[in-house]
Amino acid sequence: MKHCAIDVKNLQKVFTTRIGFWSRKTKTTMAVEDISFQVQEGELFGLLGPNGAGKTTTVKILSTILLPTAGSVSVLGMDVVSDTRAVRERIGFTFGGARGLYGRLSGRDNLRYFAELYGLEPALSRQRIPELLELVGLAGRSGDRVETYSSGMQQRLHLARALLHDPELVYLDEPTVGIDPVGARELRRTIKGLVACGKTVLLTTHYMAEAEELCDRIAIIDKGRLMALDTPAALKKRITGDTLFEIEMKAEDLPALQGQLDSLNGRLSLEVTDSYPNKKVSIRTAQPERVMQLLSPFLSEQRIQGLEVHPHTLEDVYVSIVQGESS
């Protein structure tokens, strides 16, 4: 039976800043207003939201870097406020971007330093550091100063640092920011490997395709509030908009297709354009399964030269939720 790795209840975080020299004024910013969610052990959980939504603040509270203003946060059964040190020993985290490393030290020396901060025994440290450098593809450059690394290499070194003490729970805050597509794919493969090893991962990202590919469940937050929480598939079902079919076929087959589509009694929009030597038909419908049925005889008789279906993506869901909120 799986246990709850993270339990967040009515989390709130308010930042107070004082401005002015002579007449001091207090300005409050509600970074997290009211967020509750649970993450199960072994789950890869995504936290999505626009800039300033409260993702990083939430991760920093879970990492014990910030204290919550209200609400409770339990990590691996421990309270992040009262069991701070015990929580720190069992979690690993990375924050996006190139910050968080000592540029004048080599990649290996950065890991050695953090290994000491996490109290790794020397023998374990000597074993873990080469393994992790190999895992993140930096074994060949481990002796070079970090300031000579590309941003992608620095991101990968962050991941190695986060995994040094073999934590049960890993927070990855925008881990693929600034990484080229090949490097991002490698990193996603590594993240999947972490989950396969039984680790629990909480991932924040701006990349919808990444979240869709990786996450078991996704929470969408905006303006410090939880807007939606479900599996990627279930989230996509929430969208009721049209699916777009783009078909390429010969002009002489067009009347037969239009005849078939008439059975939908106008519950679609149809647009025909020239795509020499054929015609391109664009169909927008809220009944994609029915349209697919009507197209199947044309497909089996090879009267369709090309077919593209554009179903809803997680990005559509995200935009719909975030824009719906702002409007």
Binding site: F15, T16, T57, K60, S63, T64, I65, L66, L67, R85, R88, E89, F93, F95, G97, R99, G100, L101, Y102, G103, R104, L105, D109, R112, Y113, F114, E116, L117, Y118, G119, P122, R161
Partner: protein
Amino acid sequence: MNARWLRLFWRQVDVQLRIRTFDPYSLLLFFLQPAIFSGVGMVLSRAAGQAQPDLVYTVIGGGMLGMWSGLVFTSTFDITRDRRDGTLELIVASPTSLAMVEAVRTFTNVVAGLASMAAAVAAAVFLFDYPLASVDLPGALVSLGMIVFGMWSIGVFLANFPVWSRITGSYVEFLEIPVALVCGFMYPIGILPGWMQAISTAIPIRWALEALDTALLGTGGIEYYLRQWGMALALSLLFWGLAHWLGLKIHDRIRVSGEMSAI
């Protein structure tokens, strides 16, 4: 101190030496600035008709200034750099306390600052032929140890302020010259007004430095040394206590304010 803390200590010293102490800015602080002060003092001594420079106030004073300036600037800049580079959050969120990391860093900075003192003494001996025959060596070494311990305690105390916020951190740097003035780094403390002497009684460096000056002249008795060292030790321990108390307060405060990542 168990093996784990010893390993952490040496790793931190190693990192500190490589990323901070051998930084060109630090080398200027540790060597060039005290060399300028000592050099000007020695030249002025000669111009005033003295065959040899005043060892206590010109030579040792320059070395003291180098140690102190190096400590104030490197200890505040360490935190500023950590905040800017995003490593402050990583240290705070690790199982090792920031206070421990700060203590080792400050120790490294103070010990590295001894290079200033060594350079100043070497200049006095080899450039100005200052004889060291009358120096009470054991008394001087213990007094120097007390200076290191006193500076270390003040450094750890002060390092809390730049952690607290960037603004309070910048105020710490203003302490460089006032502390050097009230502690009489480059002149006898007796020439200062009474209120300045009163302030200096709360600073452990003042007591240890007086003992060092006396040991260099070879004029101190055991009672005198014990009083000076006792005051230096007691005040240093007081600063350690204050540093610990402030460190706990600030650890919670920065987790409320989010100041760790503010750049």
